[in-house]
Symmetry: C2
Subunit: 334 residues, 2 copies
Amino acid sequence: MKKVKATMQDIANQAGVSKTTVSMVLNNKDSSISDTTRKKILEIAEEMNYIPNSIARSLSTNKSGTIGIMVPDITNPFFSEIARAIEDAANKYDYNVIFCNLDNEIVKEDKYVKLLVSKLVDGVIFITGGNSDKSIDILKGNNVPFVFVDRYVKGYEQYYGVYSLNKEGMTEGIDYLYRNNKRKIVFVSGDPNLGVSKLRYEGYKEAMEKYGLYNEELIFEGDFSLDGGKKVTKDIIEQIKDFDAIFFSNDLMAIGGMKVLVKNGYRVPEDVGIIGFDNIQIAEMMEPGLTTIGQPIYDMGKEACELLIGFIHGEDNNEKIIRFKPKLIVRDSV
Amino acid sequence: MKKVKATMQDIANQAGVSKTTVSMVLNNKDSSISDTTRKKILEIAEEMNYIPNSIARSLSTNKSGTIGIMVPDITNPFFSEIARAIEDAANKYDYNVIFCNLDNEIVKEDKYVKLLVSKLVDGVIFITGGNSDKSIDILKGNNVPFVFVDRYVKGYEQYYGVYSLNKEGMTEGIDYLYRNNKRKIVFVSGDPNLGVSKLRYEGYKEAMEKYGLYNEELIFEGDFSLDGGKKVTKDIIEQIKDFDAIFFSNDLMAIGGMKVLVKNGYRVPEDVGIIGFDNIQIAEMMEPGLTTIGQPIYDMGKEACELLIGFIHGEDNNEKIIRFKPKLIVRDSV
């Protein structure tokens, strides 16, 4: 690392012009400068890998052209697929995207919100859930626009956000299991502190009660991960002898759970029907293919990004809350 | 968004002290200030969600406490699992991590390198491959330390980096297929412009030649994705009638490929043996479980992060290049 960072003065020396001329060209205030000189300066700047100090600039303009995304768990495909969609939309509007992985830890959330605010991002897309009041206060206190995706935050249900109709999705899944003669349907909830977990549980409960099948011994809880699904399914096998279906709160858990069932001699779907939630890409690849409640992952990310960018630009005619209806994707696991 | 961002003056007014006193406390230069006053100022700053402008500070100290990671495709679990490991290690050393998704596009790479440099990150972890000369020049020209992971960059093979021994991994896989009586072994390469693709191809070629089995009609090419694996496997089925194994250059392709084979009436492993490369978490969940050449993904990310942080702190006693030997993970697909 011996090279020294190029400055405007270096460019000026090389081009044989004044530093002021260089500054005018690089800041697009060069109306009085000849095309030849402008071209020469830009070429030298390119050669020297000169990078305008966008930080100094963003301090004065208060715009960075960058959006921050807070992702709960970057190894969960649901979030990486949403992040991808947000990025595609952001790039269309010439915004860069920076990802922060929260790892479901409130301590990290706090730290990363402060990091994003201090880096002067223009806005934040927040996939958090749980107890995010402090982070939200920081964003509001610093006038940073933000939008929620997927996970409701208590007290902010009417704020800018993009969501799925979780209860409706659960109802559709239970109806489908019922039509396939499943009666002892286990439900695996995710982290019970998340609004999205509560909604899915409520959807399950209402639908099961409609058929007179609700029994709280059928309710289990696990992490929204492959390992979470494996662990909870071992518990289910040990604790309940008699069940004919499991409705997992996300696809990753369902995939982990299917593996445990097959290893323990259960046939899917003959002995146990399985439904997941999300429709991540890998769901289709499983054997049997995973039947699931599909969320329009790509569209949710895209809409969230467009909502945020509208918000940043002060457009107030948009809908503030966008709700998507999830859709049953029938494959071979029921 | 009506609240106004809190300033040091606001804190001073609230605490009934001078702005200088507030500044001294917030910048840890408060040796002459009483504990009571210090505590009061910190409490008020916390209440007001005051965020020190770390940008202004990083302009003077040239340290941001942040590492940037350039990821080729955030939806590929190999990269999100590595990113997770890097983050765990970084957090231990009190560094924050920012992710940029390159989407395998050189244009984005260029843009994001500039973004990271202009945000004054302390270092960059680069999972690029291909033609990254320009990005590297920018990093060097701006004295930003960087480390490569997984993918070699031409001309920089001796630079700081963490890699797998790709050729050795391929040899181990071919030997295993041979021992399992596979003779017509198709090879699916990833993007041929990547050094890692070339090394895997060379490993395949040498091992096949050792057994007198090499035949260039068995060589195919695909994207490092589920769809890439599906597409290339359809081509293989159409173009070659006689094959008994497929060695895919990564697990995602192998997973996509297995699905296509099963749909077309092939039995895995009886008719066709399948090997992948990486050992992403989902590989174990497939039915049959995917046999693969396992890379120590978590350790690779961790070592890369520690290498970079040592580099940032000017430690020169470290090994510059760390190579891991991949390991055959036997499951049920061969």
